[in-house]
Amino acid sequence: MNLTLKVWRQKDANSKGEIVAYDVKDISEEMSFLEMLDVLNEKLVAEGDEPIAFDHDCREGICGACSLYINGEPHGPMNRTTTCQLHMRSFKDGETVFIEPWRAKAFPVIKDLMVDRSAFDRIIQAGGYVSVNTSGNTIDANAIPIPKEDADEAFDAATCIGCGACVAACKNASAMLFVSAKVSQLSLLPQGKVEAEERVKNMVEQMDHEGFGACTVTGACEAECPKGISLENISRMNREYLKATVSPGK
């Protein structure tokens, strides 16, 4: 198939970017979206142009590196799919495809389609962990039974890959789904409950500090999340936050 791509090109963080159109030809349906970009980049390099920069690594939908706002949706039109797992059979011959970077104040563009998502790292550093030493002198793993439903629910929240699609999709560029996934995972497990109150306060504070918008429950994040992290996590985080705020002595 042949496509027209309209790609955001931006030399570096300080330059002004623009949309540039490219024609790509003879694209196979079996290709992944990123393989299609590889083909374009090979062509650009051969012609002496600079290839389009985009983040990617594992190409099996788990590392969370790939991003791209494709035809107005993060990770493109397929639900529960990262860009690297999006295949060209989702597009029609002759289609025009817009490709843009994630847009958020907290995710500044580095180059072309690459953005800086280190704000997520800093939010985790603010409290997304259990303060346990790595000494190996912990209690036996089976000493505290955990109800299967809780473990499964914690797992579902923990499958977040930190790609930032929630922020990209949200009209407010809110990071609530990302933050709440980690808060939920740890607040559902007995190991994480101990410092749950401090954690949620610190993580939310850092989130606000990074310049993400607020949640207005549009549900766009949930709909676009490649791992299907649910809105209930945001509600759980609000609950944890309220609890932490009204809790005496803290």
């Binding site: 706002y69 039109p77 847009r103 009209k171 549009t218 809105l231 209930e232």
Partner: protein, 212 residues
């Protein structure tokens, strides 16, 4: 946001209950409504409630404007091409617009009746109460402006309906009450509440226009 929003939902219930009296006709109905209006403007307990309501409206509006502003600031550079309808409903993304329509409506509505009741000089009915009933009826049945007012009121109630459809259930999420189980309940109650309340309110001017 959610606290004032839910409080205003409660206010809507009370306000609607009172206004349903406008569906009654005849001399008796007018007397009853005017007595009710007097009670609502003079009773000390109601006064406290109404100040709370004024405050809620103001807070909800100001907070909303600030929220819209800060959320806009969180994405300084817009997408060149966006397809938001793929992942969210129109009303959930446009609460600010809907809220603004409602705010304008509230201002108009209060100048129409609340201001007249509190500060205007009104004729009194046979029981000696200010005759708000007649003011209301003649407002919507005015030869030149009546129909326009009716349409404006219906439009505003439609905006309120969409605002509530999203706002009601979202408030519970903000309070941390939404879970996989309660989600459906809040959604259903929210839908029923928004539609019933909005239609009932909208029906009042339409009914008056058609029957008087």
């Amino acid at each position: 946001m959610s606290a004032t929003g839910l409080f205003l939902c409660l206010f809507l219930v009370g306000h609607l209950a009172g206004n349903l009296q406008l569906f009654l006709t005849g001399e008796e109905a007018a007397l009853q409504f005017n007595a009710y209006a007097k009670f609502m403007t003079t009773n000390p307990a109601v006064k406290i409630l109404s100040y709370l309501t004024y405050f809620s409206i103001l807070f909800h509006a100001i907070d909303g404007i600030m929220l819209v502003a800060s959320n806009k600031a969180a994405r300084p550079q817009k997408y060149a091409y966006s397809n938001p309808s793929a992942n969210s409903k129109w009303n959930s993304r446009n609460m600010g617009v809907l809220g603004t329509i409602i705010l304008v409506f509230i201002a108009v509505h209060m100048s129409n009746f609340w201001y007249v009741m509190h500060f205007g000089s009104l004729p009194v009915d046979s029981a000696g109460n200010k005759d708000l009933y007649t003011v209301v009826i003649s407002f919507f049945t005015d030869d030149s402006m009546g129909l326009i007012f009716v349409l404006f009121y219906v439009f505003a109630m439609a905006a309120m309906c969409f605002h509530l459809l999203h706002g009601f259930k979202s408030a519970f999420s903000s309070f941390g009450l939404r879970t996989a189980k309660t989600k459906v309940i809040f959604e259903k109650i929210g839908y029923a509440f928004s539609i019933v309340v909005s239609i009932a309110f909208a029906a009042i001017p339409v009914y008056i226009y058609l029957t008087h």
